[in-house]
């Protein structure tokens, strides 16, 4: 029943998309009718998914696809959880999009509507797919539709390059996934997930499958070193699309990895967990360090997505580690942390991306160096964004903190592992996670502060307008998600239990009432966000009232002190570059920096610094060069000479005859 509802929603999305093409250029109709309708469908999807968490898994076979392998769909709790996120978050983004798309965006609005809704539908079907063919079809459709969204504004060469890189990496990743399924089916020739689940592979084959899954899903999830497409593609897309890509699409990678690791492979090995942990932490650290030095607001958020997905993968690694040593409750805790982070990242990252969209529309500016002071012109956007930024920084009492709290808790229990070497890693890993979280705070202060606070760095910023009603609705919905995840972790955990139990076979132990999050035991660790919020707000309110009551509420407004320097202007504020400078200095080995410094006698001094990812130079460019060299060698075989061509035929003939004669 919930499955039918969900398939109906998917069909509705597809219909909306097709209808969008029919009214290709009628912007108002598309924006005010199609997108809100898509959003409502998303809400319905979320409701159906939440409802289905209480049902046993249901499946259905549609008579399309390959004749020997029609599309199988199955709705179990893992899929339902991700569908819930998909529905809820996409609803917010769709509402926002209703007010976002304007004319002159390069691609006609109707086409955008089609791409957008096909993207949504394919994501839903990826989560539902229960056979390898259906999964791959949906997976690649998802990549393809989002590719079209990325290059919506295809006139910019930079965007085209981003789109190319994105689709290429997506395709390479998909090949790895396909190979992974090939290993998983263990020569039975049956590619239904039911069969993959039933196979018991040798440790070697299982490891191979796991590695392929890590590569394939890692490429989608921005795992180092396959992350290079992400900071290019996410900023290039229109903001609602970026929001969907960062907020939801990346999560399908997590879904896939969880599906393969916990559902298909029954006995994980400990080093898988270690590998995932290492890769995840590396991505997290690299992501946040790069985020801190970005000067483009959407690139900053894209790198921040790498960081968050890195944390998610690290958590998954920990869950694998626990599962490998058969520490089921611990695995459940780690997995819960992972899923929680997935949910909260989906909320806050979509929120932040749509916020950048609102800023972009109001100012036509993406570069942090040319923004500033927008809180005065766009208060709605600013205050809602603040909530998202604080969540992203992992501050209590919001959603991001809960997941980080759970993650750190699960690390603290790692010393129970029966492997001394792994135990040694715990402090290092926990420290790295703490560092990443703190750096995320740094990045978010930079993000919010430079865009919304201070004085406008450009004249035109004072013309910026606040978001419209649709945009506000969308943003408020997403912000509500951040708040709910932050304040009601106990209730969310109750939902998550239905997801983790089938995967690792254990529930979290005790629950200390509805207001206190205590996944193990209240004496060991507890966190009560509502109480916390009440505490803070109580203190604040009391202080405020006391100050007003005891003293006064007078206020005087004057121009700020100019430090005795009358020619001071808004451009002299600290820039985003400046904000990133300490990070550049401390984490110098991470970057490949090119700097032009002026010398003392320059009449027109210029300072230029460009920071790029050294992985390009270490990994990707050499691969491209190798292929180029091979291609040149191959090209030399074909120099236009007919005699040479005849010689090839002749030699081939001789060779084949020799082979035949043997």
């Amino acid at each position: 029943m919930p499955l039918d509802c969900i398939l109906l929603v998917v069909a509705a999305w597809l219909l909306i998309g097709i209808f969008g093409v029919l009214v290709l250029h009628r912007l108002r109709l598309v924006a005010r009718l199609m997108f809100p309708a898509g959003g409502l469908a998303g809400l319905l999807l979320a409701a159906a998914a939440a409802w289905s968490l209480t049902f046993p898994p249901a499946s259905v076979i549609l008579p399309i696809g390959l004749p020997t392998l029609p599309f199988h769909f199955r709705l179990d709790s893992l899929a339902a959880f991700f569908l819930l996120i998909l529905g809820a978050v996409s609803a917010g983004v769709s509402f926002f999009a209703a007010g976002y798309f304007r004319s002159g965006e390069g691609t006609p609005p109707g086409l955008l509507c089609l791409e957008y809704h096909v993207f949504l539908a394919s994501m839903a079907l990826v989560l539902l797919a229960d056979d390898a063919y259906g999964f791959m079809v949906m997976w690649e459709t998802m990549a393809l539709s989002s590719f079209f969204l990325v290059i919506a504004n295809h006139r910019l060469g930079e965007i085209r390059r981003a789109g190319y890189l994105y689709l290429l990496m997506a395709h390479v990743g998909a090949m790895a996934i396909l190979l992974c399924f090939g290993v998983l089916q263990a020569n039975t020739g049956d590619y239904t997930f039911a069969n993959l689940r039933a196979q018991h592979l040798s440790p070697f084959a299982a490891s191979l499958a796991f590695l392929l899954a890590t590569a394939g899903f890692g490429a989608k999830g921005g795992l180092l070193p396959l992350h290079v497409w992400l900071p290019e593609a996410h900023p290039a897309a229109p903001s609602p699309a970026s929001a969907l890509m960062s907020g939801i699409m990346l999560k399908t990678a997590v879904y896939g990895l969880l599906r393969v690791t916990f559902d298909f492979l029954h006995t994980p090995l400990w080093w898988w967990g270690l590998l995932l942990l290492a890769l995840g932490l590396a991505s997290a650290l690299a992501g946040v360090v790069f985020a801190a030095v970005q000067v483009d607001m959407k690139r900053l958020l894209a790198y921040s997505s790498i960081e968050n997905l890195g944390l998610v993968f690290a958590g998954t690694g920990l869950a694998v580690l626990f599962a490998a040593y058969d520490m089921r409750p611990m695995a459940a805790l780690a997995l819960t942390a992972v899923l929680y982070h997935v949910a909260s990242h989906a909320c806050f990252k979509s929120l932040l991306f749509v916020a950048t969209g609102a800023v972009l529309h109001a100012t036509r500016e993406r570069s942090l160096g040319k923004l500033g002071g927008l809180i005065r012109y766009m208060p709605w956007v600013a205050w809602i964004t603040l909530l998202g930024a604080l969540t992203s920084a992992g501050l209590p009492p919001l959603g991001g903190f809960v997941s980080e709290w759970l993650l750190l808790q699960s690390f603290l229990f790692t010393p129970g592992l029966p492997n001394a070497f792994l135990n040694m890693l715990v402090p290092v890993v926990a420290a790295l996670i703490a560092l990443v979280t703190a750096l995320a705070g740094y990045t978010m202060v930079k993000f919010f502060g430079v865009i919304f606070l201070g004085q406008p760095r450009e004249e035109k910023l004072s013309q910026a307008h606040d978001a419209g009603y649709w945009e506000r609705i969308g943003m408020l919905w997403l912000a509500a998600g951040c708040l709910v995840l932050g304040l009601f972790p106990v209730q969310v955990l109750a939902l998550l239990d239905a997801v983790t139990r089938p995967l690792v076979g254990a529930s979290l132990a005790t629950q200390a009432g509805p207001w206190l999050l205590a996944p193990i035991d209240p004496a060991r660790a507890s966190y009560g966000p509502v109480l916390f919020l009440l505490g803070v707000s109580g203190c604040v309110a009391t202080t405020f009232l006391l100050v007003r009551w005891r003293y006064h509420g007078r206020l005087q407004r004057v121009p700020p002190w100019n430090c005795g320097y009358p020619w001071r202007n808004a451009r002299m504020q600290d820039t985003a570059e400046g904000f990133g400078q300490p990070i550049r200095q401390i984490f110098e080995p991470f970057f490949r920096m090119e700097r032009d410094l002026p010398d003392a006698f320059d009449a027109t001094p210029h300072y230029r610094v460009s920071v790029s990812d050294p992985l390009w130079h270490w990994l990707y460019l050499p691969i491209a060069r190798t292929v180029e060299r091979l291609a040149r060698l191959a090209g030399q075989l074909q120099q236009g000479r007919i005699a040479i061509y005849l010689l090839y035929s002749f030699l081939t003939l001789i060779a084949v005859l020799l082979v035949v004669r043997q």
């Binding site: 603040l386 402090p427 007078r554 300490p582």
Partner: protein
């Protein structure tokens, strides 16, 4: 429960009341150690009172955020003091926030303060915000690691449980805690804007961090922020004392110890305040770019502490 509520209330009020005193005490000691004539012990109270009376002067384009931040920072610090078991471990608010949440609370305050400093858009505010966040992103994980050292020993991240265990357990020497203790001192110096990281008594643009953040604040807002800074120092001091010298803290089983706990705490605070002043007097302020190294060593010390904890199986 009643005693719990009582001790909780007592703790908050005590913190609010004692925090400026601790600041004054440290200042006094510093002056003595530097052969200056010391200000009165009550000087901080007078200053706060004066500031509260004054009319705040606000930059004309400052946003509501700017006015909101001092209250929030103050509230956060007050809550921090409330959840650190300084007098008793029987605190009803304590389950709401464990060690990780405490660090999160400090981070929350820091983020708000930094953002507020950026709001006016003068060069100094942003500069201060950047430096403060720089210190923060290294100090916070280090603090967390220090707390984790204790957590590993007590198998809990709940502050009350940790202190409970440390206070009512047979005395044992934990080498990991020694390392963590050193790390904690380094972190506290950085977090509370003390020499060698920052100088609370200077407004020199090349060096100031915390003062740069407050530069545009005045009147009651400044008063709240100053008070919050005192509270922070107080909270750190209490946290350090609770972790490393947990004796004399009351618990639910023996509420009567609460009466004894207060003088014990005052004594411990007096000693640590004097030591802080001594430490500040004997060290020199360092360049801002050496601060990451300073904090990184704190961070590493704390991690080493955890490692030793696991290596020695303690």
């Amino acid at each position: 429960m009643n005693t719990g509520l009582l001790s909780q209330l007592l703790e908050v009020l005590l913190a609010l009341w004692l925090a400026p005193l601790l600041t004054g005490w440290v200042n006094q000691w510093r002056a003595w150690l530097q052969n200056k004539s010391a200000p009165s012990l009550l000087q901080p109270y007078r200053k706060l009172h004066k500031l509260f009376h004054k009319e705040p002067v606000l930059a004309e384009h400052a946003s509501p955020f700017y006015r909101m931040a001092p209250y929030l920072v103050f509230g956060a610090m007050a809550l921090a003091c409330a959840i650190i078991p300084s007098l008793s471990t029987d605190l009803p608010l304590s389950p709401a926030a464990d060690a990780i949440a405490l660090v999160g609370l400090f981070a929350l305050a820091r983020v708000f303060l930094s953002l507020a400093a950026m709001d006016v858009g003068t060069a100094f505010g942003t500069l201060g915000a950047r430096r403060d966040m720089l210190i923060g992103f290294l100090a916070e994980p280090a603090l967390l690691m220090v707390l984790f050292c204790a957590s590993l020993l007590s198998q809990s991240t709940s502050l009350t449980t940790i202190v409970d265990q440390f206070a009512h357990r047979q005395f044992a020497i934990h080498p990991s805690l020694a390392l963590a203790g050193v790390a904690f001192i380094l972190v506290s110096l950085a977090e509370n804007a003390r020499i060698p990281v920052d100088n609370p008594a200077t407004h020199l643009e090349l060096t100031m961090v915390h003062e740069a953040l407050l530069l545009e604040y005045s009147g009651r807002h400044l008063a709240l922020l100053e008070w919050a800074a005192s509270l922070k120092l107080f909270a750190y001091a209490c946290a350090g004392l609770a972790l490393f010298f947990p004796w004399g803290v009351a618990d639910a089983r023996s509420p009567e110890v609460l009466l004894l706990a207060l003088p014990v705490l005052m004594g411990k605070l007096a000693v640590s305040g004097a030591l802080l002043a001594l430490l500040e007097s004997v060290s020199a302020k360092m360049r801002i770019f050496r601060v990451p190294e300073f904090l990184a060593s704190a961070f590493l010390l704390a991690v080493m502490g955890m490692l030793i904890n696991i290596l020695l199986g303690a």
